[in-house]
Amino acid sequence: MRRETQNVLLVLLGGALLKIAWTGSYLRYVKPSLLPFLVAAGMVILALGMVAIGRDLRAGRASDIGHGEHAGRSPWLLLLPVLAIFLVSPPALGADAVARSAGAVPVPERSIDFPPLPAGPAPALRMSDFVTRAVWNSTSLHGRDVRLLGFVVHDTDGGSYLARLVIACCAADATPLKVRLTGRDGLAGLPQDGWFEVRGQVVPGSAGPDSRFVPALTVSELRPAPAPAAPYEF
């Protein structure tokens, strides 16, 4: 591959990283804390490409730098993430990813002393907080209404779940958190991958080895919600 083409590819790649950082769609792929590094990487890649283009222009077409060293065909692969980001812009992981990792349900290793829930009639909880408390059968949940935000997943066993994916670093390490929705008709008709805010109460003791540590929630209220800008929990 020619040096000029490599430089154009670098400019495109740097631009792609800056684009997802600017539009916020980077949150579909990585954690928010990566943003400064992502911007820095995008600017460095862009600058390396631009500086080389500028140097070649100044030196005239007969620039001697880098001639005779061809990196082979592998740089063409750099085009793939560029095309994926600019043209396809893959969505955040959803029900398909949850179904794929069905066997690996995380059992959080935390202490069993949970602080009481926030005051108020129905506090909004992070899915990870709710599932952790439910798995340890924390009495802090018993008899309390909570609100959860997540997307709907219909399992092959006929169950309907509210799910959220947790990432540690990037979407490649996403692990699902699920809550089984019960106590209401028409749950099976909810749209797969649709985002909902659900109000309800935990079924005490429902998150055991038999349910693969998936707690159940008796739903009292259910309404569609916009998908959050940061689709994953951390």
Partner: protein, 348 residues
């Protein structure tokens, strides 16, 4: 104008067009023109392309692919910047003065020096290749390559955070990874052959005596980025495909089986190609398994994974990667099990 020798002939998207059977009267297509054609075609085909890709499994794979690339790119950039700095500002004589003369003594020094590069495996490949080009013995550079992504402070802190109740896990990971790097370095000192490494990896970088250090720095960083970026993408593609194809439900059936668990988690570390700063959290989430298999996962992952093997094949040649990666895999399992026995108190 020099004759373009770019390998457009092998470019899959324009079969036949780029290599006319008889020398055409007009000049051959340059890679820049091919790139423009691909971009225009992709823009025109965006709609049908998006429809084809609108299958759940492919969507998941595409997201994982972009995620691996986006996550790794900052670390690769850090690596090529460090590599450029070494090329521009650290003369080979300075490196020789810092390292012990005897290779076998320099290997552990390189292992501990790995603590200085706070990045994941993508950063360490260009740096260790640059070290080799600056005259550092291959065994020493390879030890650095294996140690840097596994024993740096960022990775150790993330392991502490991921295993709050198990401080021994951090110590075991540190020992296992450092052991892997040092043993591999010593093995290379004893048995390694320079001809296994592709010649281009050892060639001295072109010197630009008429140019300033800044130009050397940017040119080296640019060259390394182009040379290794493609292989990172290749690794990302492989990881995404395996992520979608390998059913995670295998995990659940392993509970209680330590030896099988060790083997499966070692393989899982290779195919998942997680960033070494994230793998501790994944290992923590596999809580149906006892600690030793999860330790193996943490030691093998930063040393051998599909993304890293692709990067190594790009930097040091395929012949090198074919020998180095399988041996590292075995050594890493051995060191992890040993560290588990010593620190965690036996394989239970």
């Amino acid at each position: 104008m020099p004759t373009p020798t770019s390998p457009v002939t092998g470019h899959a998207r324009t079969p036949g067009r780029a290599s006319p059977p008889v020398p055409a009267p007009w000049r051959r297509l340059t890679s820049l023109e091919v790139l423009c054609a691909v971009l225009v075609l992709a823009l025109l085909a965006q709609r049908p392309l998006s429809r084809i890709l609108d299958v759940p499994a492919i969507r998941t794979g595409a997201t994982v692919f972009v995620a691996v690339c986006v996550q790794a790119m900052p670390f690769l950039v850090l690596g090529v910047l460090v590599s450029g700095l070494i090329a521009a500002f650290v003369p080979p004589s300075a490196l020789r003065r810092v390292l012990p003369r005897r290779t076998s003594a320099a290997v552990p020094v390189a292992g501990v020096a790995g603590m200085l590069l706070p990045g994941c495996e993508c950063a360490s490949v260009p740096v260790s290749r640059r070290l080799m080009q600056q005259g550092v013995p291959p065994a020493v550079a390879l030890t650095f390559l294996l140690a840097a992504p596994a024993v740096n402070p960022v990775v150790l802190v993330s392991t502490v955070v991921a295993f709050p109740g198990e401080p021994r896990m951090v110590a075991a990971r540190f020992l296992g990874s450092l052991g892997t790097a040092v043993v591999m370095g010593w093995l290379w000192t004893r048995f390694g052959r320079v001809e296994w490494i592709a010649k281009r990896a050892l060639r001295q970088p072109p010197r630009y005596p008429d140019r300033g250090a800044l130009a050397v720095f940017t040119e080296t960083a640019r060259h390394d980025l182009v040379a290794s970026g493609g292989f990172l993408v290749l690794g990302g593609l492989t990881a995404a495909a395996l992520n979608v194809l390998v059913p995670a439900s295998w995990m659940a059936s392993l509970a209680g089986q330590v030896l099988l668990g060790i083997l499966v988690l070692a393989l899982l570390a290779v195919v998942l190609a997680l960033c070494s700063e994230a793998d501790a959290f994944v290992a923590a989430s596999l809580s149906m398994l006892p600690l030793p298999p999860r330790l193996v996962f943490l030691v093998v992952g930063p040393a051998v994974d599909v993304k890293l093997v692709a990067l190594q094949a790009g930097a040091f040649g395929r012949g090198f990667a074919a020998r180095f990666a399988p041996l590292t895999f075995v050594v890493a399992i051995g060191c992890a099990v040993l560290a588990g026995v010593l620190v965690l108190g036996g394989v239970r």
